[in-house]
Symmetry: C2
Subunit: 425 residues, 2 copies
């Protein structure tokens, strides 16, 4: 009996310990578990180690431009004269929305200030659009490869991304409309494009936009147009927005940001644009909950609209030159194929490798050429379909042409030495 | 037969018209429909009209302080010297998180920089905490009345707020723990408090915090502590955070902002603090998706940590004086009751009225005294339980004592003239 009591007491203590252990650890949400980490940042520890080992790294992995922010924008920031750093209206200040209207109307968007909702970066604009248009479980179709953080926004809004594969062989053009129709269901609420595209740099044509318009009208879908890279179109090619197309007034949602346009990623000022009043009012409710975008960011972004044309001409010339060096250089390497993109400052290239994740890590961890190496983003992170893009990488041409040439040589030497080298069939 | 064909053709045209009509209007989400609009801003059209009619309005309805932002913070903004307005790390800059650590550790929080995640305002910190801890459909318990935007964040995260009523008669003290226990279910994941409280101004005691700690440990719940008003504690009373209590390391989540502390609402810099590594890493994934908080906001907020003590002493003296004028003045009006709050810059007062929404609108629309009137926030917007707080209003003492005295006189005259006057039973 005494033995049994002892045993029971032992069991009780054991159970208490278990309880204590579990009590020490309230569980995070399944949504939190499912939330993807940034595929672009996951190689960072290897880069840090490479730097510690004394290697110089050419960073072609990130979209942080090395171009200077326009002086007119920085001056506005330095000359702020408020005494109280106050909230602004949730939709943004009247003066900034008016100034933005003039910017967009020069592009032919036909807006009023009441069509523009200022957000904390383009990221918040995308989140607002997803939440205002899609219920949990509903679907948005996006051509892949696509901007990896769309996965995070979709997870956060509990919506489902249905990818459609675009292919490197035609430069990542819009997939045939019949492919979209195959996966449209009663749950489909929207189609999203990024134009010019991140990660592929592809610039959609007027015909492609018109095909999407007809599809959205036929199936009653919203068309999200992420135009973060609008200013970066090359070879004199025309930029087309859904805002240019008749009939899409209630369907088109433009998602924009000052981040790349003015090399002002850290200002966190973007906007959501729609002529659909019901959608605007709904997005505004999400905006009201978070009170306001930043006051000083809006002041600077308002001033930025006056950036002289010469700034953009210089930037375009610079990026076109970089793109030419990079694309030509990549295609000159044996087994490498890189289409010539019409916009943004990214390319996706096919390499003679077995596995882009392994190769990019190997370049940081095991390889160097004259104490230098190259950091790239494995394209797998931009595909939603598993095991896709395994021999592709994204390169951002955010370095000058001299450094790009050095990076290309380094990449070539890396490809020659890589143990998983595998020529495309 | 010809007649039938004509009829059918008519029907076809009619159906096409219907289709066209519906096609013109893709539907917004049910979540968007359910999203609450700001209860504080819904009286704005009436205020705008009153201003057009030439009335002066005493704005006691909003939490935008009239106190100047510390000079050290504005100087930092004016003296930024970057050339490229770049992203910062998603979790915030290392130097700002280090500086914040020193601020919090002076308060006895015992943090490292790796416990702090910088956010776009306190709003984003609340959203991250909800999404990282609660799945769609799971529940968080919050004493009501509570900050109205919690409803918006909860709707956006698809989680459910379970309110527990705190009452004006004891100054909105923490409801008995037994009331919490009554509504805890398997879906309950967290309890949230705002301390000092918006809208009631109530400052929770150490005993109340300890009771919440024991409850959270017993039922394995996260404890969210919204500390936006931490610097605003009066009468020498002690501020207690869950970070001060032993045993809550894995459960406590502090949500903070520079908005009220430095009168810098428009800077949109806040943070989420937790020692729970798993939670931190999860919140970081949400932060990575939106890339970064603003660079210049963090530079200014870092400088703000050096705000001299005299600034806070002046602010405390000013607010204490205002609170005393307001609370004394309110209690001197026949039929009005207002508890004396220990913190923040709000009071909730009981008025001799039938309906706070009607009364606040009436004050703007129908009433003036010497061409002046008062704008208040009906307390109904801060209760989640229907038909609660109908004879209560929230007043923010964000005006100087002279203006507060004038506003009080105006309110008294309004209450005397209001057709829906109704003395409390």
């Amino acid at each position: 009996m005494a033995f049994l009591i002892l045993q029971l007491r032992g069991l009780f203590v054991f159970l208490c310990c278990i309880k204590l252990f579990y009590n020490d650890m309230p569980k995070i949400s399944q949504k939190g578990v499912d939330m993807p980490s940034s595929p672009i940042r996951k190689l960072t520890p290897f880069a840090d180690q490479a730097k510690k080992d004394g290697k110089k790294i050419y960073h072609l992995n990130i979209g942080q431009p090395d171009i200077e922010t326009p002086e007119v924008m920085l001056s506005a920031l330095k000359n702020i004269d408020f005494k109280i750093w106050a909230y602004t209206p949730s939709e943004g200040t009247a003066s900034y929305r008016e100034k933005l209207t003039s910017y967009y109307n020069e592009l032919g968007y036909g807006l009023t200030p009441n069509d523009i909702l200022v957000t904390n970066g383009g990221s918040e604009a995308i989140t607002f659009a997803m939440q205002a248009c899609l219920n949990p479980g509903e679907e948005i179709i996006i051509p892949e490869p696509f901007y990896a953080n769309y996965n995070g926004f979709a997870c956060s809004a509990d919506i489902v991304i249905k990818p459609i594969k675009s292919v490197i062989d035609n430069g990542f053009a819009l997939p045939p409309i019949s492919e979209f129709e195959k996966i449209i269901t009663s749950k489909t609420k929207a189609i999203a494009i990024c134009n010019p595209n991140n990660p592929t740099g592809y610039l959609y044509s007027r015909e492609e936009l018109e095909a999407l318009r007809d599809l959205c009208l036929q199936y009653d879908l919203f068309l999200f147009s992420d135009e973060a890279y609008r200013e970066f179109c090359y070879d004199g090619r025309e930029f087309i927005s859904p805002m240019h197309l008749e009939g899409l007034e209630e369907h088109a949602v433009v998602l924009d940001t000052v981040s790349k346009r003015y090399s002002a990623c850290g200002a966190r000022i973007g906007c959501l644009i729609t002529k659909n009043k019901s959608l605007y009012q709904t997005a505004l409710k999400f905006a009201q909950a978070r009170l306001s975008p930043s006051l000083e960011g809006q002041i600077a972004a308002e001033a930025a609209v006056d950036t002289p044309d010469s700034y953009f001409e210089d930037v375009q010339r610079e990026y076109t030159g970089r793109r030419d060096v990079l694309v030509k250089g990549l295609n000159a390497i044996e087994g490498v194929y890189c289409p010539n993109p019409g916009g943004a400052f990214y390319v996706v290239a096919r390499l003679p490798i077995d596995d882009a994740d392994r190769f990019c890590q190997w370049m940081l961890e095991k390889f160097s050429y004259q104490d230098e190496t190259v950091m790239m983003a494995p394209a797998t992170g931009f595909y939603s379909t598993a095991d896709t893009g395994k021999n592709e990488v994204r390169l951002a041409y955010v370095l000058n042409t001299e450094e790009l040439a050095a990076a290309l040589l380094c990449l070539q030497k890396g490809l020659e030495a890589y143990p998983g080298r595998q020529m495309p069939v």
